[in-house]
């Protein structure tokens, strides 16, 4: 991306002098990606830390021309994504075997109320937790696509680079992921209505 050019030039010129800028500019997005893929804040911080350290070591081994040609956003996304996937793999089959219902959050705030009243921040936070929980019910491939597109805001060409798939494929994965989220959200709402009337 053009916006990366000054940073890439600085990294190519003086890695040690400019790496902190990379950390400052990208740490929130890498942490957000890791948190929404992994769910646990401590795991997410470790994954983001690991990703940035690996990025530094890779950059230290690249020549200046290669650094200038990097697409920083998708490149960093790929690094953190791979680290998150291997962490998810290491967690084993215990969580993967949980049923969809078991992973759904129990108390969904009515979305129409969430922007009003003194409980607004609590409601907003709960809503975020709900959506984060719903997101984690998605299979990893769809979760990754939705997180990179809609949490991180990568463009489809960037997403294709980050996931190393054709643009058409990643678009389909994002759309399918959003559709799965809708299904999960509606199921959760239905469950909540049933509990209120029971």
């Amino acid at each position: 991306m053009d916006t990366d050019s000054p940073l890439l030039a600085a990294l190519a010129d003086d890695l040690d002098g400019s790496f902190e800028t990379l950390v400052v500019e990208h740490q929130d997005r890498l942490y957000s990606i890791a948190l929404r893929l992994l769910g646990d804040p401590r795991d997410a911080e470790e994954a983001a830390q690991d990703a940035l350290v690996r990025a530094y070591r890779a950059l230290a081994g690249y020549d200046a021309a290669r650094i200038r040609e990097l697409r920083l956003r998708p490149w960093l996304s790929t690094i953190v994504l791979n680290l998150c996937r291997s962490r998810l793999g290491r967690r084993g089959s215990v969580r993967a075997s949980l049923s969809l219902d078991a992973a759904l959050p129990g108390e969904l705030e009515p979305r129409t109320d969430s922007a009003h009243g003194p409980a607004e921040t609590v409601a907003t936070r709960d809503a975020a937790n709900d959506w984060a929980g719903l997101l984690r019910t998605l299979p990893v491939a769809y979760r990754s696509a939705v997180v990179l597109r809609h949490v991180d805001g990568l463009s489809y060409p960037e997403l294709a680079l980050a996931l190393d798939r054709p643009e058409g494929t990643v678009k389909a994965q994002v759309h399918r992921g959003v559709a799965l989220l809708r299904t999960a959200f509606e199921a959760a709402q239905r469950q909540e209505r049933e509990e209120m009337t029971a």
Partner: protein, 265 residues
């Protein structure tokens, strides 16, 4: 109520968050562009230990965080961030090293120091707990027998005292000498904690004893060599010089190599 794709996308977009403030210092420390530090209790009181992904970078006798951070930046050019506590593995490695276990590996970050300084510190690392060697011995062992004074200066600049045991290097006349970690009083305290008797060492040195031999093995040692400590009093033969020992038919101990530093001294 219907939920549109735009609603879902907005809800997911709201999941973007900010990284914990601890992330940046951890990353920068991991790659060696910053350091973390924590307090450490030692036989001579509170220390601050600084480290990064390359290894331990500084040990200083202080409990003043702000002053330490300022000095650390002046010395290394890097910021130091309070980590609260040492990583458990590093804490136990340092404790074991201070207990005399030389096998425990502690990586050191000695960037910015000269090869000569590193050679001196590496040699100091080879001196066992409970033993001391003269400055001239270190100079001879690293192949710079005339650089005795420079060895003293390098030991004074040791950024990681205790971990690199520069307190085990003493003056060639047998007196304990200077110490960078809070002065010579601390050097005596540490040596005593390691099982040595600094006063006894100095009084023996004052009476002219520089070497100790065994009349059964005819091996001559530096006085604090663990082999010399095993010699029973009836078989213990003091020498004022290495030449006197060799001319009496003694050969040099292979562990403490007493001949090193004879030229330098």
């Amino acid at each position: 109520m219907t939920t549109t794709d735009a609603d879902i996308e907005a809800a997911v977009a709201a999941l973007r968050t900010t990284a914990p403030t601890t992330l940046r210092p951890k990353v920068l420390a991991d790659v060696g562009l910053a350091d973390l530090y924590a307090r450490f209790e030692s036989p001579i009181g509170p220390l601050i230990v600084a480290w990064n992904g390359l290894g331990v970078s500084e040990v200083e006798a202080t409990d003043d965080d702000a002053a330490f951070e300022a000095r650390h930046r002046a010395r290394t050019g890097r910021p130091a961030h309070d980590a609260g506590e040492l990583p458990p593995r590093l804490a136990s490695a340092i404790a074991r090293r201070l207990d005399g276990d030389r096998r425990v590996r502690i990586d050191l970050d000695l960037r910015g120091h000269t090869d000569f300084e590193r050679d001196v510190w590496q040699k100091a690392l080879e001196i066992p707990r409970g033993e001391v060697r003269p400055y001239g011995w270190v100079a001879a062992e690293i192949g710079r027998p005339r650089a005795v004074r420079a060895v003293g200066t390098a030991l004074g600049h040791n950024p990681v005292p205790l971990i690199v045991p520069c307190h085990r290097v003493v003056r060639s006349d047998g007196t304990i000498g200077q110490y960078s970690l809070g002065g010579p009083g601390n050097k005596r305290t540490i040596l005593r904690a390691e099982g040595l008797d600094p006063d006894g060492l100095e009084s023996a040195a004052r009476s002219g004893i520089r070497f100790v031999g065994s009349d059964t093995t005819h091996v001559v040692c530096l006085p604090t060599c663990h082999a010399a400590k095993r010699i029973t009093p009836p078989h213990r033969v003091p020498f004022r010089s290495f030449e006197r020992a060799t001319s009496a038919g003694y050969r040099a101990c292979r562990e403490c190599r007493p001949e090193s530093g004879v030229l330098a001294a």
